[in-house]
Each structure stands twice: as structure tokens, then as C-alpha cells.
């Protein structure tokens, strides 16, 4: 009998083109997702060296990082440099024969939202993109990771990548998730435990009954933030939930081919007895709704906790890091998190902008008004998400409450488009990074789940979703 293998090892071995001695392995790449920000220099590299794009049929592009989210501003983009970058992508896709989901396409959206919803993302694939949140696609049992622009060019030219063999790390969340604890809280709880470099050099496999109970949207949220723990990738074994999500998607196999595909995908699970380089088991009951207080995603506390100070037992560098974060965030140790007031709310990003996220937030908002001192926006992850939400009347709930209902894109997650925080703004954000200046210079970001962001928008301060009075009309959560 062959040696038991992990999910990661199975996918890795199915993509080994060559394994030269004393060199990284050459890994075949099934799907290359491209966007406007990290690709222009790569296309230019191909032109300069006279190389071709090897597999246009395994390459798909969209515009997401730079695009304005106000409809009237999308056709003629006022920011000349952004417009030039988007034009460059259009010219490059035309010249090299790459399918582009442009601003006016019904399929445009955040690259990590559209890949799965169109059925481009599939279990067992290797997927790369010049974006660190490519780890999102691991929710389908794909090996998916972010790459730099030199690697983008490398994949364009060769459809493979030299990769050193990562270590493996299984994180099992066991038991039923407590009420009010969402996928976002699970992953924030994990990063809070292992730190922002806790998984550097590893591919994580998320397992356990709490993970298996999650929808594909929830699984994507968790895999999405693997990179925030430093991991190369995050993966979840495909199961019936995965197959149900994929069935009937535009690029999913159909008919007899579907059955054959499901049979192949069903092999993609960690064998009994397979070993990992590291294991962590977290009882689901220990998890709560979380809020980040600092300037990296590992600086996170339960909603009911107080802002911490520097740990006297920590190293001097770590203590200074905490003091610096407190100063940047304008927070005093000992302040209850629920007393921290906010003036901005961002509901969106590749972490939390899918239909289920919008439904959960709408259920909280329904029947309430946004606090008068808060500006709140909802940015659906894609046009398809936006259309679905509008069919369900979610846009009406958000608008009636005083939220702005925007067009799809990365938006205020990283503020490359006009959606940014002003210095001193404090934001409850469903995105993935609370780095200094990430959402705008001098802006202060607190990462939370969509429900917690919605509650903060109404109250004007952070609020424990477990005690929320849902009073609106029924939303199909």
C-alpha cells in the first residue's frame, strides 16, 4: 500500500513537471489570474525578450484594484495614472490573447470573487495570481498562492514556477461554532493565536467539524487570510458543499464529464495516517467575535476584552511594536473595545464581499439607521454578487439604513481607487489588513466580520453581535 498523503502532497505531486537535484521543483500552473496592478511589467518583460504567453487559455484577467466604485466615475477614470494602468492591461490582453473581464463586463469583479463564481477555480488545481490573497481559492482544495511580478512573467512564459517544497500545517477547529462567531472570527482567532508569521514557510490545511460545517463563502474567508499568518497557502479538502457550489457554474464540467470530475476531486483529501510538520487543534467553543486593535491582523482581541498594553515578558522589539501600534491607533490600554467609536465602515474586499456576507450584514442593519457620525459603504465583490443582492432586496435594506451601495472592486481594502480613509478616520472594516496607512494615510483600521461591521455602523462604536436585537424584516441568511 502506498504511503498516506496529505491533500497538499496529492496536489503538489500531480503538478510536478521536473524535480532537478539541488533546485526547487518545477510546478505546473493550471490557472493564472491577472489584474492591472501587478501585470504591466510582466507583459513588458515578455515583449522585451520576444517571448510568447504560453497558455492564454489558462490565463484570465480582470480589473479590480484601481476601479472607482461610483458608477458615473467608472467609464472615464479621472486618475490619469490609474487610467493608464487599466489601458495597459487592455492593450496587453488584446496583444497576447487573454480574456479580460473589463469594467463594463457583467463578469467583472474582485479577481478572487469571480474565479470561484464563474467556476474557473476547481478542486486540485494549482492557481496563482500577482496578489497575496490568491490563497482564497484554497477553499476548493486548490493549491493557490500569491506571486510577485517576476513570477507572473515566469508563468506567462512557461506556465510553471520553480517552487521550494513548503512544510505542512494542519489546523483543526473542532465542534460547533458558538452563536455570532463567523468564518472571519475563526481566522482572526487563529492568527491571534499563531501570530502574523506563525505559518511562514507552511501550507495550512484547515480541517475539523467547524470548518466542514462552513459554506464555500465562509471557507473562502478563512483561506483568504492564510497569508496574514504568513502561510504560503491555505487549503480545505473538497466535499459535497464544494461540489454543490460548483455544479452548474459557467465553466464547470457538465453531464458525464461532471461525474468524472467529481470522482477525481473526491480523491483530494488527506489520507488516514498522513502526517503534518505541525498540528494545532482549536476547540470551536473557545472562539468569540473578534476585533483587531493594532496594526497587524495578529493584534486581535474578543469584542468583550479591553485594549491590551505591551506584555512585560515580551522581547523589547515586540514591546516597542505594541507601543507603536497603540500610538498609531490612538488607543489607551484598558479601554473596553465596545467603547471604541468609529466614523467609517467598509463592507467589502476579497475577504468578505460575497452574497452570504452581504446577507449577514443586511440582517443586522435591517430596521435600523446608520449612526449620524458614520459614513458606511457596501462594495459587492462582483457584478454577479451585486445582481444577486439586488434580486434579494439587500441593496434596499442597506440604502434605507443609510449605507452607500457601490459598484464592485477592491475599493477601500487597499485604497488604490478613490475610496480611502482620511487621517484620523477610524474604520470598522471587513477587509484583511490593518497595516498603518493601508486604507489611507493616517487612517485606523479595525478588522471585523460583516455582522460586526454592520453593528458598528448602526451604533457608532463596536458592539457585541451576540446581544444584537434583530428587528428588521426576514433576510435569508
Amino acid at each position: 500500500m502506498s504511503k498516506p498523503k496529505t491533500l497538499f502532497e496529492k496536489v503538489w505531486e500531480q503538478h510536478l513537471v521536473a524535480q532537478p537535484a539541488n533546485e526547487p521543483a518545477l510546478l505546473y500552473i493550471d490557472l493564472h489570474l491577472v489584474h492591472e496592478v501587478t501585470s504591466p511589467q510582466a507583459f513588458e518583460g515578455l515583449r522585451l525578450t520576444g517571448r510568447k504567453l504560453r497558455r492564454p487559455d489558462r490565463t484570465v484577467a480582470t480589473v479590480d484594484h484601481n476601479v472607482p466604485t461610483i458608477a458615473a466615475d467608472r467609464l472615464v477614470i479621472k486618475d490619469d495614472i490609474a487610467a493608464r494602468q487599466i489601458d495597459a492591461l487592455r492593450r496587453n490582453c488584446k496583444e497576447f490573447g487573454v480574456e479580460l473581464y473589463d469594467v463594463d463586463s457583467r463578469d467583472q469583479g474582485i479577481v478572487h470573487v469571480i474565479g470561484p463564481e464563474l467556476g474557473l477555480t476547481k478542486p486540485g488545481m494549482t492557481i496563482v495570481c500577482g496578489d497575496s490573497h490568491t490563497s482564497t481559492h484554497g477553499a476548493f482544495g486548490a493549491l493557490a498562492f500569491g506571486i510577485g511580478t517576476s513570477e507572473v512573467e515566469h508563468v506567462m512564459a512557461t506556465q510553471c514556477l520553480p517552487q521550494s517544497h513548503p512544510k505542512t500545517f494542519r489546523i483543526s477547529v473542532e465542534g460547533e461554532l458558538p452563536q455570532g462567531v463567523t468564518a472571519k472570527d475563526v481566522v482572526l482567532g487563529i492568527i491571534g493565536r499563531i501570530g502574523t508569521d506563525g505559518a511562514t514557510g507552511y501550507v495550512i490545511e484547515y480541517a475539523g467539524s467547524a470548518i466542514r460545517s462552513l459554506s464555500m463563502e465562509g471557507r473562502m474567508t478563512i483561506c483568504n487570510m492564510s497569508i496574514e499568518a504568513g502561510a504560503r497557502a491555505g487549503m480545505i479538502a473538497p466535499d459535497q458543499t464544494t461540489f454543490d457550489y460548483l455544479k452548474g457554474r459557467r465553466f464547470s464540467p457538465q453531464g458525464a464529464a461532471w461525474d468524472q470530475a467529481v470522482a477525481a476531486w473526491s480523491q483530494l483529501r488527506t489520507d488516514e495516517g498522513a502526517t503534518f510538520d505541525r498540528e494545532l487543534v482549536i476547540p470551536a467553543v473557545e472562539l468569540t467575535p473578534y476585533v483587531t486593535w493594532g496594526t497587524n491582523p495578529g493584534q486581535v482581541i474578543p469584542i468583550t476584552a479591553e485594549i491590551p498594553g505591551a506584555d512585560p515578558a515580551a522581547s523589547e522589539a515586540d514591546r516597542r511594536g505594541v507601543e507603536r501600534a497603540l500610538e498609531y491607533m490612538g488607543l489607551t490600554p484598558g479601554t473596553p473595545m465596545e467603547e471604541v467609536t468609529i466614523n467609517r465602515v467598509f463592507l467589502g474586499s476579497c475577504t468578505n464581499s460575497r452574497i452570504e456576507d452581504l446577507r449577514a450584514a443586511a440582517a443586522v442593519v435591517s430596521g435600523y439607521r446608520v449612526h449620524p457620525s458614520v459614513n458606511a459603504i457596501v462594495v459587492p465583490g462582483s457584478h454577479l454578487v451585486k445582481e444577486q443582492a439586488e434580486r434579494e432586496g439587500l441593496d434596499r435594506i442597506f440604502r434605507q439604513a443609510g449605507f452607500e451601495w457601490r459598484e464592485p472592486g477592491c475599493s477601500m481594502c487597499l485604497g488604490m481607487n478613490p475610496d480611502i480613509l482620511q487621517p484620523g478616520d477610524r474604520c470598522a472594516s471587513t477587509s484583511n489588513r490593518n497595516f498603518e496607512g493601508r486604507q489611507g494615510r493616517g487612517g485606523r483600521t479595525h478588522l471585523v466580520s460583516p455582522m460586526m461591521a454592520a453593528a458598528a455602523a448602526i451604533k457608532g462604536h463596536f458592539s457585541d453581535i451576540r446581544t444584537w436585537e434583530f428587528k428588521g424584516e426576514e433576510v435569508n441568511v
Binding site: N22, T38, G148, T196, F251, M416
Partner: protein, 199 residues
Amino acid sequence: MQPFRKLQATVMPLDRVNVDTDQIIPKQFLKRIERTGYGDFLFFDWRQDPGFEINQPRYRNAQILVAAKNFGCGSSREHAAWALDNYGFRCVISSSFADIFHSNAGKNGILLITLSEDQVNTLLQRAKQHEGYKLTVSLEENTLSDDHGFSTTFKVDSFRRYCLLEGLDDIGLTLRYKDDLDKFEKQHDRDFWLTPKSA
């Protein structure tokens, strides 16, 4: 790519943990479509503070950066490596680096050296203490030393070391395996459940 063999240069200390790529090069500079011209925007937000190390004349010609743990975490933007390179940094020393940054640095001829936290602290202190503090790096001999008695060896992945020493382009190296690739791809394409558009 410029080969990296030996370097003796001024050291700039950056005594901060978890320096993320958003700090190394903020988003507003990612809209450019060139590979060059990022040097003036390196640590853009931090350099608004006149006391920040880059603004101090004593570090003006620094080519070696020493920083605390988990340097380069966050976004995959290669602009971070370009900004360091365009500014003139050819070597970064820390007790740990984030994965994607590690790869991006190597592809731009920047040598990353991982030392213990104690060693990094020693170098940070010396760079702050002695004006004009220099380190000598030899990738040929895997050694790092200063004029004050500090001397150590360091390890770099053997393939990365070879590419840095020779200044080799990765794509050219991969194409040595073109026959393997052609053969693999022909077989692999039959697995339609692993193709993006299988409908």
C-alpha cells in the same frame, strides 16, 4: 539581473518588527507601469518624519538594511523589492522574512540574510552607535563581518545563491526543462477537471 558577490557598505538600522510591504511602498505608487523610479517612494509614509533613518545624512549611502523580525510581510507587490533596489539597498538582514517578499527580493538581485534575533540586535545597536558603520558581505564565502569584531557565516538556499552569484534569469533556467514541460503538459491537459474552462 546584476550578480551579487561581495559588498562592503554602510548599514541603515530599521529597528521595527513586522515591516510590511504597505510600509515599504504604499499603494499610491503601485499604479505606475514601469519597473524603475520607486526609490524616492521607499518607506514613503515613514520618511515624512524628518527623524526617520532615511532622512539622516549618516545613512545616506546605505546599501545594507538591518530590520527586526518578519520583514516584508503582507502584500505580494514586487514594487517593494523594486523600491529597495531602486533606492540602492542590495542586502537586507533580519531574523525572518515573509515568503513572497523573499522570492521577490531574490529575483531582483537583493540578498536576504537571516541571522538570529541576538545577532540582528547586535547589528542594530552597532549601526545606531557608530556613525558610518559598515558591514562586509561575501556571498562567495557566506560570511558577514564588521570592523568591530563581529563575524559570522550565514546560509542561503543553494539554488538562490547560485542565481544571485551568477545574476541568472529564472525563465531561462526553467526553459532548460522545456522537453519535460512539453511532455508533462500534453498529458496534463487531458485532466479536463483541472482546466479553467472545462465547460
